[in-house]
Symmetry: C2
Subunit: 471 residues, 2 copies
């Protein structure tokens, strides 16, 4: 049967199909630290909608699983090879098909990188707002498939709010078009929103019509501060919200994270910043204001930070602001330098941030693990990190992660704010959703993909996709 599928793929797609062991192997991983147990059956490098339709028709007829894959930068194992699957690589579908200045929209193929689209838009004074930390390396298709978040969401929204319409190849190869070229449109159910964030389990996104914004005029002002502890920093971020200020960026690093970042960056990089000297237990909070009124807004933020006990720096200089933001950006490299990293992604209502930080500390203490954490404080999204040695995620890390997810959900939050469920978090999906929602979601999956060939094992448990382990 697999031989037969391969022959049909070769017949239909020729040199776009590869079974080269190195190419197969490269699809077993993403950036989550997970690696599939086996390589896929084949990788198809699709170059067109027709290619994608041809793959799906063949796979549908044969019952062969298909894993849609973009830039491979996922953090939840949502696009890694599953046993016996065709990996449908969309990274060659990377053309910007249209930019309409008059309608403030772009039509793109799924493989266009977020950063490349923004580079093309900048000279026009336009901007695609979704801003995952991975924007330089992640694709628009992947951003949409995971409903990616990022640093700017409290002010500028998540990816869903920037997607106007989609072209999607369905499980049997038919091409579905959803949405409009308009901001408004309420004809029928919102399939565009349903497919956004569906992680390749309902169809393969082959084109997206995305909403653009005018680039914000005015300066960017950065406010950074060191605080005696993470709870003081969390209180400072809450005070900003309470003052009805909505900065573009508000990022928080706890003490464990900050110590690692400081030692990773070294004294020279931190000279002249609030981190020039760090006392043990200190945490870091950074905010950026943009657009008109940025300076006045930043002054109020600085006041709030100082009132909460922060040692504050304000910078209107772009290069200096970038240097302060680089402290935040150094978090993941700093962790990766010391071992394998499992990045978690819980979100809680902003008011529960101090409780969540406290819970993470307690969970760490309970299992004897340090859990350095960074948060998008403006929207309550935390990334607690587990750092470990070796190929396997240690049992106590799983146990600690389990405690953490349950705490986030109990605080009114969610087990994934922006990375997606993938294969990493599917074991908790039903716990968070509840039985009725879970049943409806499975029903939607069955409606779109009756034979279950689209990304099996992602989001929902499946025997076929169960065999992946931490890298």
């Amino acid at each position: 049967m697999p031989t037969d599928v391969l022959a049909r793929l070769h017949d239909a797609l020729g040199a776009s199909v590869t079974t080269d062991p190195a190419a197969l192997d490269s699809t077993r991983e993403d950036r989550s630290g997970w690696r599939s147990a086996t390589p896929p059956l084949a990788v198809v490098h699709a170059a067109s909608v027709d290619d994608v339709q041809a793959v799906l028709r063949i796979a549908h007829a044969a019952g062969t699983p298909v894993v849609p894959r973009g830039a491979g930068t996922g953090l939840a194992g949502g696009a890694i090879a599953s046993p016996g699957a065709i990996v449908l690589d969309l990274s060659r579908m990377n053309r910007i098909l249209e930019v309409s200045e008059a309608d403030e929209l772009a039509v793109v193929e799924p493989g266009v990188l977020n950063g490349d689209l923004n580079d093309a838009l900048a000279p026009l004074g336009l901007w695609f707002a979704p801003d995952p930390a991975s924007r330089a390396i992640s694709s628009i298709g992947g951003n949409i498939a995971t409903n990616a978040g990022g640093l700017l969401c409290a002010k500028y929204g998540v990816t869903r709010e920037a997607v106007l319409g989609l072209a999607v190849v369905l499980a049997d190869g038919r091409l579905l078009r959803t949405g409009h070229r308009t901001v408004k449109g309420v004809t029928g159910y919102d399939l565009t929103a349903l497919i956004t964030g569906s992680e390749g389990t309902l169809g393969v996104i082959v084109e997206a019509t995305v909403r653009l914004r005018p680039i914000e005029a005015g300066e960017v002002v950065t406010v950074a501060a060191a605080f005696p502890g993470v709870e003081a920093a969390a209180a400072a971020s809450a005070a900003v919200t309470a003052a009805r200020i909505r900065p573009a960026v508000m990022e928080l690093i706890d003490a464990a994270g900050l110590a690692r970042v400081a030692s990773f960056l070294g004294a020279t990089a931190l000279a002249g910043t609030p981190l020039e000297t760090i006392a043990p237990g200190e945490a870091f909070l950074l905010a950026q204001s943009d657009s008109h009124g940025a300076a006045a807004e930043a002054a109020r933020i600085a006041e709030a930070f100082a009132a909460a006990g922060g040692r504050v720096t304000v910078s209107t200089d772009a290069a200096e602001g970038e240097r302060l933001l680089a402290i935040r950006r150094a978090m993941h490299p700093a962790l990766a330098a010391s071992g394998q990293v499992l990045i978690e992604d819980v979100a809680v209502p902003r008011s529960r941030l101090p409780e969540m930080f406290r819970a993470i500390e307690e969970i760490g203490a309970r299992y004897g693990i340090e859990i350095p954490t960074i948060a998008h404080a403006g929207d309550g999204n935390l990334h607690p990190n587990f750092v470990f040695a070796g190929e396997e995620v240690p049992g106590e890390v799983w146990a600690a992660a389990d405690d953490m997810f349950r705490t986030a959900v109990a605080l009114g939050g969610t087990l994934t704010g922006e990375h997606g469920v993938g294969i990493l978090k599917r074991r908790w999906l039903a716990d968070e959703l509840g039985a009725d929602s879970f049943e409806l979601q499975r029903g939607i999956k069955a409606l779109f993909d009756p034979t279950g060939i689209l990304n099996p094992g992602v989001m929902f448990e499946s025997t076929a996709g169960g065999a992946a382990t931490a890298r």
Copy 2:
């Protein structure tokens, strides 16, 4: 069978159930100009989630249709009695259950009026952004059920972007909770977005967690202008977009509409405005800038309006701005004063606005009908109005509406930007969606409502709900 259902309703809900002819009759209409052929079986005034669950359990067991109804202000016939149905009136569920300043959210029952929520929020410096023209009289539940738009959407988004989570009673009486108290959250498919805009066909919204915004600081500046014709006005609005300006409000009235508004308001109301003297064929365009930088933005808008041939007034005075906006608000009263009004609701990409205006003029000429039109020019949403005498929509009005919908869809737009499909536009649903999308949408409906009791005839054709006529 109906007797049996009535008895069970009375047993379970007592005095909340009414079969009083006047009460039944009042549910046969909304603000669309449509009236159902028959009164419903009964009206239930639900006061709690338990009441709603009890109604659905009884209806589900008996196969009785249920029409969820809020404030009755719909414009598409989406909440009017269908034959043999229980009308589930949610207007008594009008409590604001919680306002969290720290999390910038409110939890409300569905019957809370949009304006009442905003009145309660204003002293806190907070604001629920969805802003349908009906905000004083329409309910949050109805706003969500139709994914309502309004005047501010180009800048502040549609209702969907303000809904964080829902509690929904399913067709069989189970209570489903969707979403979170967080801005981010990607666990599973986005049922919150799927149910938003579903017009009561997937479940009954009994609670909503909605996102609030800080009230914009700074002044509001109004720019209004008369133009030689509607195409010049449309070109002026396009010039504003092209200048990368996104005003809070941008409203356009064509010549036919403006003539009626001017005669309705009278000379005194227009003294000192650009409409003090109107030449035949002139059109009206109004923009408002808010927040920081409003004055500078408004100056650029005024320049663009003047360059496009507008006779421009700029006002920084709140009362004067309100007086200019009152010209726009007078559109519907002016039309209603001269006959029955059928309000349409197409949307097109902004760049196609001039073409759509031209098409409306041609369609009007073809059928010998005047079609006064108002547009949310900032987002390409047009409300062409048909004014006629008598109880029945004349055949040529339907023919003209049919031409208009097909033109909007051909221009890359949609047959409803914000009012919903209801019973008025269901005949065009499949045309706009295409066969594959239509089939998936019917599948979603069947998944949530296998026995088809929820708002039959709304959105999809159904023999049961087919018997309504224009009032």
